[in-house]
Amino acid sequence: MLCDICHKSEAVLIYTLVINNQKTALHLCEHCATKRELINSVSSLGLTDFISLISYPDNIDKLKCPRCGLTYRKFISCPKFGCSDCYKVFEKEIAPILRRLQGSDEHIGKMALNSSNNSKEKKVLELRKRLKDAIAGELYEEAARIRDELKKLKSDEG
């Protein structure tokens, strides 16, 4: 078996890591083991763990973020989100992973100042920006929905 770090030399020892009470084995060559003797490379394993826990739902090919166009398949190959809406679109898929990795999927920390009293001005700005994105991405249904929302905001103004 080749070394998990350099992928060049033969692995001679197994280094066991414990992350959130789960064991992961790293196979290391002599050289990398000495170099990393005291280091457990947990840093990169955060994302590796995340990838290993990704599930494959039945509707996998329909899962797509309408705002940024990220598909769930693409997310699986590179688990980074393309916009804030992705969290809503893929909520069912990522919440269980967060629960397993971090023991929770509920934020209890600081609340963003802008979240509670999102001024209308900012909301309109955001919607306009998203409308532009939707049109650019030829997502006309989404664009129509945003346009309605914008109209509603303006009519609320009276």
């Binding site: 890591l17 414990v18 992350i19 959130n20 009470n21 170099k35 990393r36 003797e37 005291l38 280091i39 457990n40 490379s41 947990v42 840093s43 955060g46 994302l47 995340f50 705002r67 940024c68 166009g69 990220l70 688990p79 980074k80 989100f81 393309g82 916009c83 804030s84 969290y87 809503k88 909520e91 990522i94 992973i97 967060l98 990795l101 971090q102 023991g103 929770s104 999927d105 509920e106 934020h107 209890i108 920390g109 600081k110 609340m111 963003a112 100042l113 802008n114 979240s115 999102n118 900012k122 700005l125 955001e126 920006k129 998203r130 994105d133």
Partner: protein, 357 residues
Amino acid sequence: MKVENPAERCTSSGGEDFFNITPLWSSGEGIYSEIVLSSRIRLARNLAAFKFPILSSVKEIEEVFAFISERISFVPIFSLAHFSAFEHKLLLERHLVSNELLKEIAGRGVGIFSGESISFMLNEEDHLRMQSIVSGLELALAYKKLNELDDTFSTSLGFAFSPKFGYLTSCPTNVGTGMRASVLLHLPALVHSSKIRKIVDNLASIGFIVRGFHSESAHIEGNFFHLSTQPTIGRKEEDLISGLHKIVMQLIEYENSARELLLKNAHLQVEDKIWRAMSILKSARLLSVDEFVNLSSAVRLGVGLGILKDVKISTLNQLLIFVQPAHLGKLLGEPKELAEYDMRRAMYVRELLNKGG
């Protein structure tokens, strides 16, 4: 955009070049600064009105840059394009930018102020990566500084936030607080006693990340470690910070008792090692970065043990920054031959240490 010419902004009132100025965090002030070099808080933030950089076009990324520069006019923001490739290396060595940020130049930027104790990257993986860094074990202070800026930014920029998931980040492993708290530690006696491996394993199992001196690599140099928090969701910022603080206090205690034991069992050998390290640094004609970092660890231990009385922690911190290749090149005029670096590094170290600093 408020700031167009970084050269202008990068000049201090004394007319000195920005990169020749020692960052505030290296002052050696703050508690336990021999063992805890610095405390750092990082916050990942995104703007609700824009897609994340990873799926944005260059034009969209430039729009984000313009949007932020317009609204954040009280902070100097520099576009990466205004720096030379050489200056990018300097920024990297200062930990003001990441390798990731430097992969693209257009629409990428950096904000630096308060003697570098607060800085942020624009359009890296997230729209904003803000950090505050202070000398010694001062995590709460570092958070307080950054938290205030975060609120100001939040009001003027409108951060992507969901009541369920918290601050929304491009990588789901950062979602929630978007925060990582970390310290740079110097633990020579624990490394020597070989207890460190067990400690590192235990730290990992309770949710801490341990990395080497250069936080982007995992190599250990000179007994220096980065220790940082891993969880970002389901915990309060204050609890994550006090959790790390408690662990660091415990590590300091372990390190100190390992030092006592070391002195009890091998006092003369320890003293010998420290004085030899000091002599080499004061007289060597060639020094590699690795050799310097290792020897400076021994000297640092000597200061901590009270054996070396005329060396300041601030000098050792300053050396750790300025012996890096780009900084050396800047200080001494860019050397033409790569081999010159070791010679000039040794010269610089000699000068500073023989000054009685």
